[in-house]
């Protein structure tokens, strides 16, 4: 290797929170060459963000760097003086932080935040700084009149671009990008990443890119390191990792990513032997509409979240409701589960028109028939109650089981969703389990009433990539065994492709396109669906019309 611009050797970081410190990063080493795009991949808690923040020594208390050294441009960061460190930050290396949405100071305008950096590092003030700020905004495709905006007036994508503009402000040779697009919708994410890659071509800097999304990095990184539990488990060139990698964890990660394009992988999820549905739908919604209105007399604001949506679901079917944030998909979930009252339209269950009421007047019968699984497994379980309480309450309330039957039935339920031994899990509290286990409990709770329909609102998006397919498999299996009907709500076209029989694409509260999953993926009719499919497929970077080098297909085992 030629002379590396960054070299990290045996870096270890601890968090001092109690008598015993928590080791967050352990003996991490890697080198990055000048001009390279280096990727760092890991699930939440793997320590990837800790590594980069330790490299810049910006980790806030209670962190402590206990071992190792970091050379940037042959300068030892760990031995540098305070003045050296302040001086080296942003001049030598800048960072686009994870959750960049919160990285901007809420009370300073965009102008002030860009000026701060220019003034400190370049001594630019007044009109000179303004000119530079305008230049930077045009680099990231933002109109310069946004300079006087405050962060709360900008959309997520805009904030992200402004943070990137700040990172470019004084043209450091290295830019760290820590999950720069995680909070954004897939299409915006793709736009921003292609912008970054375009800028790199123009301005020539080294990128250290951190993400949980291996798929994304395979598109454009040169080399990458995979982290797990604070350690690097694999470090290799992208083309070798695309072939499946050496470490079992890498293999698992690669294998757990469904693709929204190409030939359908076989055997990823359980499917019934044959798919036949009855003639009459079990659930039908007609012209559903939900308008949110602020009741303030001074400014009436109207937000149409759901605008005339109609669809049918048949017994034993899995429907994928796919859309980006703001598409109204979660509102539809709340309307169908009657957590919210629709502004107009009707809901038919088994052919009966269910009168539209406030959620507190919904009859128990409806509750028993339609259950829901939420996105955030920590938020949907009450931390003061045990797993047993969560599963027993619905059964008590609906008088389905008596005292003696309760415990064995709950143990049985837990084992059905893969939590064995069930009697041990029944006694646990939510904080004593992992995210995946918690989500399984939430699914078991939804199943406990033996409902006919389950509405699953992004049930895997808060879970680690490597366990997502296992959780989806529970739904697939329950459908095959119990003829369960599932309304699967997701932003991820690829997972909808594999779980759902039919996909409905939503945008701005209305249905864009509806078709059988495979048909919709293979031959999308509407422009928006095409964009979504492209953005979720490998090779999207080259398909954006820029002349990027095309990477080889990797997902065709």
């Amino acid at each position: 290797m030629n002379n590396p611009i960054i070299s990290v050797n045996n870096l270890s970081v601890e968090y001092v929170t109690g008598i015993k410190s928590v080791q967050a990063v352990h003996n991490v080493s890697f080198e990055i060459n000048s001009g390279e795009i280096f990727g760092l991949v890991g699930e939440s808690g793997s320590g990837k963000s800790t590594v980069v923040q330790a490299m810049m020594r910006i980790l806030p208390p209670p962190a402590l760097i206990s071992k190792g050294n970091v050379f940037i441009n042959n300068e030892d960061i760990m031995a540098a003086s305070e003045a050296d460190i302040i001086n080296f930050r942003w001049k030598k290396i800048s960072i686009v932080m994870q959750s960049a949405l919160n990285a901007l100071n809420p009370v300073l305008s965009v102008r002030e935040q860009i000026h701060d950096v220019l003034k400190i590092h370049k001594g630019l003030i007044g009109i000179e700084a303004d000119n530079r700020a305008k230049e930077l905004l045009s680099l990231v495709d933002i109109e310069y009149n946004r300079l006087d905006s405050f962060p709360h007036q900008l959309s997520g994508g805009m904030k992200q671009r402004i943070v990137i503009a700040i990172a470019l402000a004084i043209m450091p040779p290295i830019i760290i990008m820590d999950e720069p697009t995680t909070a954004l919708d897939v299409i915006v994410e793709r736009e921003i990443i292609s912008k970054v890659i375009e800028l790199r071509k123009k301005l020539d800097f080294t990128i250290l890119f951190i993400t949980h999304d291996l798929n994304l990095l395979l598109e454009f990184a040169d080399r990458l390191a995979i982290m797990k539990d604070g350690e690097v488990v694999e470090l290799d060139e992208v083309k070798n990792i695309q072939k499946g990698g050496k470490h079992p964890y890498t293999k698992k990660l690669i294998g757990s990513i469904p693709s929204a394009s190409g030939v359908r992988q076989k055997g990823l999820l359980t499917k019934p032997d044959k798919l036949t549905f009855p003639k009459d739908p079990i659930l039908e919604v007609k012209d559903l509409e939900k308008v949110f209105q602020s009741s303030n007399i001074f400014n009436k604001q109207k937000l149409i979240a759901v605008n005339g949506v109609s669809f049918k679901i048949f017994k034993g079917e899995i429907i994928g409701l796919v859309g980006e944030s703001g598409s109204g998909k979660s509102t539809i979930a709340k309307l169908v589960t009657r957590l919210m009252r629709p502004s107009a339209g009707s809901i038919y269950l088994n052919g009966q028109n269910k009168k539209v009421t406030e959620s507190r007047n919904v009859p128990l019968e409806y509750r028993k028939t339609v259950q829901m699984v939420f996105q955030d497994p920590f938020g949907s379980l009450n931390s003061i109650h045990t797993v047993y309480h969560h599963l027993a309450r619905p059964l008590f309330r609906h008088k389905l089981k008596d005292q003696t039957e309760m415990f064995p039935y709950i143990v049985h339920l837990l084992e059905k969703v893969g939590l064995t031994p069930g009697d041990k899990f029944a006694k646990k509290f939510p904080h004593e389990m992992s995210g995946g286990e918690r989500q399984r409990v939430a699914i078991a709770r939804a199943l406990s009433l033996d409902p006919q329909i389950i509405v699953a609102d992004e049930p895997t998006s808060m879970l680690d990539v490597s366990i997502r397919m296992d959780v989806l498999e529970i739904f697939a299996k329950m459908r095959k065994e119990n003829n369960l009907t599932v309304l699967f709500i997701t932003h991820d076209l690829a997972s909808a492709r594999y779980l759902a029989d039919r996909i409905i694409v939503l945008k701005n509260g209305a249905i864009v396109e509806e078709n059988a999953s495979e048909k919709l993926i293979q031959s999308p009719k509407k422009e928006y669906t095409k964009q979504l499919v492209t953005a979720a497929s490998p090779g999207w970077l080259s398909s954006l019309g820029e002349n990027f080098e095309k990477k080889e297909e990797y997902n065709d085992q």
């Binding site: 923040q53 810049m56 910006i58 980790l59 806030p60 302040i86 001086n87 080296f88 930050r89 942003w90 001049k91 800048s94 960072i95 932080m97 994870q98 959750s99 919160n102 990285a103 901007l104 100071n105 809420p106 009370v107 300073l108 305008s109 701060d116 950096v117 400190i120 590092h121 405050f150 709360h152 007036q153 943070v163 700040i166 303030n296 001074f298 400014n299």
Partner: protein, 328 residues
Amino acid sequence: MNKSILYIARRFGFYLIAAFAALTLNFIIPRLMPGDPASIIFARFKGKLKPEAIDAMRESFGLTNDPIITQYASYLKGILQGDLGISIAYFPEPVSEIIGGGLIWTIFLAGSSMVIAFLIGTTLGVIIAWNRTGKLDTILPPALAFFGAFPYFWLAMVVLYIFGFSMNWFPIGRAFGNEVNPGLNTPYLLSVLYHAFLPALTLVFVSLGGWMLSMRNTMISTLGSDYITFANAKGIPSRLIMLRYAARNAILPNLTGFGMALGFMLSGALLTEMIFSYPGQGFLLLQAVQSQDYPLMQGIFMTITLAVLGANWLVDIAILFFDPRTRR
């Protein structure tokens, strides 16, 4: 900018409602008492007051035989004309004139000591949250909390006892000395400051700890936010991070708290005035209580409520200035 005006107007609307509620409460309370208020007054003051004074008081409460709605209407009309009734203790002086003289002193004493306490407390909060290795952070919060635990008026008694009666360093009453002529002249202003010093000192001391502590706590959670880490990464000098990034954000909830606490703090100021015989609303209130001068009490309640509502409105405007999120 349009939205700012709307915000100010909306807050004003709220304070109008609050003022109206206070007016109504003021009207209702005497009528809610067990038995007929007219006879309560009669029973309490029989023999103590001249019959014409009792009649005047009845009249100032609008306690006629008219239906209650008519009474309410004429009560509101009277208030709008600045008619707060006739005082009993100072019979036959109208309440509005008695109050008028004291209001300015209360606003001066309570207002300035609250602002001083807020400024010092907030600054200390920033410093101890920032410098948490220092001894200051371990000593100051409990020490000031201890001062904060004393009843305002009791601390005022002790301070007055020590510095006023025992040592004779400070005056033991009034807002300015006999020897000066009120007006814009140095001896007068110095005398005013001299007389206000002890009461203001006790007010500042008792309320300091609360501001310091809440600023410290919001500052600590602000220091944990992403934009502080990002500012560090940007190489921004730590002094600038402390003031422009952390304190600038942390002060916002405290400003809201300042508005909310105004009414509460003012109560302490009133009690302190009583101890120092400081000629403000508190001192008047004490006299009103001692002579059971209901019209005066209710007049004081009304004026103080209006003053607090006005001050709250000013705080809202200050928040508008500090927090861009309210502007649009």
